[in-house]
Amino acid sequence: MNCHEARQHWMLYIDSEGDPELHFRISDHLAMCPDCAEWFAKRHRFEQAVAERLAASEPTAQLWDRVLGKAGVVQPAAGRRRWLAIGGVLAAAAAIVLAVLLFPKGQPHGSELAAIAADWHERWSQGAMRPDLVSQSDEQVDRYLKDHVPFRVHCPPRKDVNFAVAGAGVRTVKDQSAAYIVGNVDKAAITILVFARDSLDAFPLDRSHLAEGGGRHRCREKNYEMVSGITADNVVFVVGAAAPEVLEQVLNAYGSYHETEGA
């Protein structure tokens, strides 16, 4: 077998497919031809690297929880369901009482999504919740979100507003997928919560708030400032311990980054 014949069958060889006799002949040739041996090794490494990139993906826990539940593979026990329902009612009642106590009349506060955003931010900033992806790489977070979020989501706002990303993840709220990005601006912890724009149909109160503010809304939830807005694709909540102006800058950067980049 000469170099031409050996290289012609490189794919079968590196895939360990085809006629065993062909493999033996190629192996014999490679043993005697260092150029071809190196050539095959490079191709093999390259194909392996491509395959690894194609395959790289961790299962999305929330997605599979929903899938297995809906498919009837996993069914919560009746008793557990009942206790979950009772727990949910009690939690909702407690949340209402807390909301009344924490927010005096006249103070601008948000609505359902704003409360959720504040809750998530608090859990993360106090160390009670770890993001699905912990990363300080904008590119890694961007890639993760593109791979795991079922709607268009922009990459985290980057250096233009001093936002240093710390992680990201995906959650579900009232059957609506939501992406979150966590990070810091000048050591102030900030959470960005992102929904698909059409998710607002499930949250009529938030929709009316945003509509009243011309697509923008400022409020205070728990002890955190928050700004929210509607972009071309998303509804975005930015919450944190920073001044509202800083949060506003993050929100502006979120909405404009990809347009600037042309992505």
């Binding site: 191709r43 390259f46 491509v50 299962p59 997605l63 498919a71 593979v73 890639r143």
Partner: protein
């Protein structure tokens, strides 16, 4: 434990290790990524309904991937009907190696793939989209599912020769897309021996048309398993 719980438990035990590969495969295969959860949901529900027909000890991975593949083809068919075109007659002969001899960017890319692969997702989404459905399927079943040619032949109900042809062409097209991307962005600064044009044409040998229609249940809009057992992946 009741029978239904034992059945669910057995199904789950086999499915759990496949969640990552199945999800990755689905994301890469679907033209509309917002359908990933719907497709996995339909495929898993269908497979679970028919789990009684799965023969214990046989290839569950191929069985499960088949449900997902059929569901993906059905969803994608709105955008890209499967056209069973010409498959090169000289299937094992992959001319793409000639590309390597004539293109410096490709050579540099193979030498140091990390430079390019760091930006892999940016280019691969578009490149995969441009592949024909069966090219994309064979490439991803091999790369993500790590299936043998024979398993892919059973999974897609196409001859082994066609698997080789589709896989060869898919790899070549993907490499060309990657090389084009690297060239456009100057990822591999030239230390050239001379510019070599990338070959874009397929093998130049004679080709023949394969009549695969009779073997392609994927074109059937009915859900998998609606007909005979073999078509449900039970034989895999």
């Amino acid at each position: 434990m009741t029978d239904s719980q034992a059945r669910a438990s057995a199904f789950l035990e086999l499915l759990v290790p496949l969640r990552g590969p199945l999800e990755a495969y689905c994301r890469r295969m679907l033209r509309d990524r917002s359908q990933v959860e719907d497709v996995i949901q339909s495929a898993v529900a269908d497979a679970f309904r028919k789990f009684d027909r799965y023969a214990a000890g046989t290839n569950f991975k191929a069985w499960m991937f088949r449900f997902v593949t059929l569901e993906v083809f059905n969803r994608n068919s709105k955008h890209e009907p499967i056209v069973l075109g010409e498959v090169p007659a000289d299937l094992p002969a992959d001319e793409s190696w000639e590309l390597v001899l004539t293109n410096d960017t490709f050579e540099a890319m193979v030498e140091n793939p990390d430079v390019l692969l760091d930006q892999f997702d940016d280019v691969v989404v578009g490149a995969l989209r441009r592949l024909a459905p069966l090219e994309r399927a064979t490439l991803l079943l091999r790369a993500i599912g790590e299936f043998s040619y024979k398993e892919i032949h059973e999974l897609l109900s196409i001859p082994v020769g066609s698997v080789i042809g589709y896989l060869s062409r898919a790899r070549r097209r993907l490499r060309i897309a990657l090389a084009d991307y690297a060239t456009e962005r100057g990822l591999y600064p030239a230390e050239k021996k001379g510019p070599g044009p990338i070959r874009r044409n397929g093998p130049t040998g004679a080709s023949h048309k394969l009549d695969l229609s009779a073997r392609m249940p994927v074109l059937d809009p009915k859900p998998p398993g609606a007909s005979e057992r073999d078509q449900e992946g039970g034989s895999t």
